[in-house]
């Protein structure tokens, strides 16, 4: 599923993303060109995040997995085995988290897995409830998508709980395009 009209300059370090969404016809012409990061067309710029005491992080070396686990639990995900979390992160191509400068704790997180060329799926998009509503989820998502596009991956998907469909739609995500359905395997479900 390729978005028509994408042109890339070679190896941009950061990107300006210009989107002209069409309400009826979701075929979009996207042009991506290299720019310096302070011209980035994000809702909140890197600079603004920094000035509010938040650092953007793109590797998990300094990420405290117990703290991440606490956010998972706080938003209603199951608490997970930290060793399994580490294994998952080691096998995740792209991730982003927001660090609270004061406490060094993660306050927002998202990651994407995939085959590195055609498809990517975004998982575990979370914002600490105490930090929700100030644009951190959007900040993480915009940058994650930009990074995937920079890598040449244009088929970007995710699974959204019904209550956050409205969060993903303004970011450019469409549910069930052309009747494509997300499906999940259930052991109890199987017809014998």
């Amino acid at each position: 599923m390729l978005v028509p009209g994408i042109t890339y300059n070679s190896l941009p370090t950061s990107l300006r993303l210009r989107l002209r969404p069409h309400p009826q016809n979701v075929a979009v012409s996207v042009s991506v060109s290299s720019q310096h990061s302070n011209n980035q067309n994000y809702s909140i710029s890197d600079q603004q995040l920094r000035s509010r005491g938040f650092n953007l992080r793109r590797t998990f070396s300094d990420l405290n997995l117990d703290h991440l686990n606490s956010i998972f639990v706080a938003v209603g995900f199951p608490r997970r085995d930290p060793d399994k979390i580490r294994l998952a992160l080691e096998n995740t191509d792209t991730l982003l988290w927001v660090e609270d400068e004061k406490t060094k704790r993660p306050v927002a997180f998202a990651r994407a897995t995939g085959d590195g060329v055609f498809n990517a799926i975004i998982w575990d998009v979370v914002v600490d409830p105490s930090f929700q509503g100030i644009g951190l989820g959007k900040a993480v998502m915009e940058r994650l998508v930009t990074e995937l596009l920079r890598k040449g991956i244009t088929n970007i998907a995710l699974y959204s709980e019904p209550r956050v469909l409205g969060f993903y739609r303004p970011l450019g995500f469409v549910a069930d395009p052309d009747g494509i359905r997300g499906m999940v395997y259930s052991r109890k479900q199987k017809k014998r």
Binding site: M1, L2, V3, P4, L19, P21, V26, A27, V28, V30, R80, K84, I85, L87, A88, L89, E90, N91, T92, T113, G114, D115, G116, V117, F118, N119, I121, W123, V145, N155, I156, A157, L158, Y159, S160, E161, P162, L165, Y168, L171, G172, F173, V174, A175, D176, P177, D178, G179, I180, R181, G182, M183, V184, Y185, S186, R187, Q189, K190, K191, R192
Partner: protein
Amino acid sequence: VLDQLSFPNNLNCGLALAPQRRKVKVCRLRTSFWESIRSGFQKNNTTQVIETASSSPEEEELLPDEFVLVEKTEPDGAIVQIIFSFGGEVDVYDLQALCDKVGWPRRPLSKLAAALKNSYMVAALHLVRKPTKTEGSEEKRLIGMARATSDHAFNATIWDVLVDPAYQGQGLGKALIEKLIRALLQRDIGNITLFADSQVVEFYRNLGFEPDPEGIKGMFWYPKY
């Protein structure tokens, strides 16, 4: 990247059913399940359908990397087998030819190779024809594939499921997915997902997949549609 294009396609090492070369085992599969496979071959009492008892993935021993799904002896004595494998031994040229056969748009070979390499599991079906003593070498043909990407811990997503049109309608697609699921569950990957075109939602429902579980929706970023 070009190195990845030359996957081994040597007919002699392709299968290696000799026990010392490869972990190959004839896997016994459920009779009822393989009725459809059996009927796909000509009605011929030299067709052997290999049967198994059913059990949950955790109780079974680990699926071998490669095993014979169906075996049949032709009138001239040649043995034809459909081999299931998930070691990732898929020749990228074979794959492109298969994608052509099902009518998928062409993708660059180098990207196909990279996608295979970056997939957690690549399940393949090969048709192998072993001639009688009087004939030449073994023929091996890719007739089906499915692959899954994964974080190796929690989630896996199945992509690119295809079966050669000449071999469709025999339950091979079902077999591919069933085995792939079993292999993933045996590796403790609990969340197995996929995105299904509307016309194949029923196919996957019959294999145990549920669309929009608890209202959870698949979403795509600015899709072409």
